[in-house]
């Protein structure tokens, strides 16, 4: 086993600042996660998530920077404390976009089982992820000049 780049206390401090873990009901959860989460390190310009491949891990960026992109088209850049991979956690579909490191980066990784358990213990995490995804939908809708409130209506057409 490789040595951790953070000790338990550093991990706990960090997790408390992560947006999807804000306002949670049971603080014990973060302590459990701090003990169990896997770490991954990436060099500059390394593909972390590849569009079209199947994977269902949720990543939390601890250090460095990543970009979310469709081929050459960059959708957004993320900073430490952001998470990515939410879209693929529960739907077993290939990844809808790629994520590539823009500098040397470190991430914590949650498996679907861990995140599902976390949501069951702390439904607030589901609210936080829902809020984050809704903002993402609004952001993408702007490109098409579409009114966001048509969201479900359009979904019915799928």
């Amino acid at each position: 086993m490789t040595s951790f780049f953070m000790n338990i206390n550093e991990r706990l401090n960090f997790l408390q600042k992560v947006s999807i873990f804000q306002d949670i009901d049971n603080p014990q959860l973060l302590y459990q996660l701090a003990q169990s989460l896997e770490e991954r390190e990436f060099s500059n310009n390394e593909v972390i998530v590849a569009q079209g491949t199947s994977s269902n891990l949720l990543y939390i960026l601890v250090e460095g920077g990543v970009k979310v992109h469709l081929q050459d088209l960059q959708l957004t850049e993320l900073e430490p404390g952001s998470s990515f991979g939410e879209i693929g956690i529960f739907d077993h579909q290939p990844r809808s976009a790629s994520v590539t490191s823009t500098t040397k980066s470190k991430c914590l990784v949650l498996t679907p089982t861990q995140i599902e358990q976390a949501i069951k213990d702390n439904p607030t995490i589901a609210f936080n992820i829902i809020k984050q995804l809704t903002l993402m939908v609004r952001h993408l809708n702007r490109l098409f000049g579409t009114a966001e409130d048509l969201f479900y209506h359009q979904l019915e057409l799928l």
């Binding site: 050459d72 957004t76 809808s96 589901a126 809020k131 702007r142 098409f144 969201f151 479900y152 019915e156």
Partner: protein
């Protein structure tokens, strides 16, 4: 209040409650749901306000609009209001009834309580939102490939056209794009992805026409490809025919549009209407238009789109059939930014 069996079925078929177990929990949620009546022409909520209700239509029809601009109609089984409920941002459109309407209302508290009692509802919602984002990601790349295919159609990948597309992406996504590697797209592929949603198809075509015009010419190749796109998207081609009659130059010719022998106003009415109907409904669209159409009065000058001349306006500019539309469009965009977005518009004036 007891909901009718039909309404219970409507609720159960909502994406957020689909496949929900145990069934009893849903029944518990349903027990607390209220159904309300709205008269005809009743404004349910306004653009710019923050809402905390999810509405599901059980009878009648509503229109989604922004001020005078109607975007679409929703009917039985459609929901609205949920985006604002989830992210706390203002509604992006108005909802007004067009006939007497019954709606089931779920409050933010009810939905949050439901998720607390059964986190599977939360997981369902995450899945539904994820699907929507996947769809939007596909749309973005199809949309951009469509525009690039237009740009390349006349063999001329001009900087001005490229800048138009890159500028749009930057405005909308706040990000820098390099368009080099996106492959071109066939009309049928485009139709498959964007054709099922008429408003999306129409918005794509408007953008595509603007992009085609951006290099100062409307070539045969551009016209033919746009016509194929139009057909694939199930949109009428008569406007393109008119544009072509008005603006087309011979292939390979670098000349900008000569002043056409002014066609009669009647003939151009559809183009005028088309420009008049262009929805200014997002800050992004408004900024895009303000940049696209120059601020000075185009009296005795050239109308310039994206810094490139598209129409020469003779001294009698008032009779140029598109003059009023372009100026009017810019005005609507400025008003939208100032009134709806409370933005300082002086940089555009």
């Amino acid at each position: 209040m007891m909901l009718s069996e039909t309404n219970v079925q409507i609720i159960k078929s909502l994406p957020i409650f689909r496949d929900l177990e145990p069934e009893e929990l849903l029944s518990k949620i349903i027990l607390n749901i209220e159904e309300v009546d709205f008269g005809s022409n009743h404004n349910i909520f306004k653009q710019g306000t923050v809402g905390s209700n999810l509405y599901v239509i059980t009878q009648g029809k509503v229109k989604v609009h922004i001020g005078e601009l109607k975007l679409t109609e929703l009917t039985i089984g459609s929901c609205f209001g949920e985006m604002s409920l989830f992210d706390g941002q203002p509604h992006s459109a108005d909802i007004t009834t067009i006939e007497p309407v019954k709606c089931i209302i779920l409050t933010k508290e009810q939905i949050y309580q439901a998720i607390k009692e059964d986190p599977a509802i939360g997981i369902n919602l995450i899945r539904v939102l994820g699907q929507r984002i996947r769809k939007l990601n596909t749309h973005i790349s199809v949309w951009l490939r469509g525009l690039l295919t237009i740009i390349w159609s006349d063999g001329e990948y001009s900087d001005s056209e490229k800048k138009v597309v890159e500028g749009m992406i930057q405005e909308a996504l706040g990000t820098k794009a390099i368009l080099g590697d996106l492959p071109t797209i066939t009309p049928s592929e485009l139709g498959q992805e964007l054709g099922s949603d008429p408003s999306l198809a129409e918005n794509f075509l408007r953008t595509a026409v603007i992009v085609a015009l951006a290099n100062g010419t409307y070539s045969n190749e551009e016209h033919e490809l746009l016509t194929q796109f139009c057909v694939a998207l199930n949109q009428p081609i008569d406007l393109l025919e008119l544009l072509s009659d008005l603006l087309k130059v011979e292939s390979g010719s670098k000349s900008t549009f000569s002043q056409p022998s002014l066609p009669s106003k009647d003939l151009l009415q559809p183009i005028r209407n088309w420009l008049d109907e262009l929805n200014v409904n997002t800050p992004y669209m408004a900024k895009f238009l303000c940049k696209m159409i120059p601020s000075q009065c185009p009296f005795e000058r050239d109308i310039v789109l994206f810094g490139h001349k598209i129409v020469h306006i003779p001294p009698l500019c008032k009779i140029n059939p598109l003059y009023e539309q372009l100026v009017g469009l810019r005005f609507r965009a400025l008003c939208y930014l100032a009134d709806e977005c409370k933005e300082d518009v002086t940089p555009y004036i």
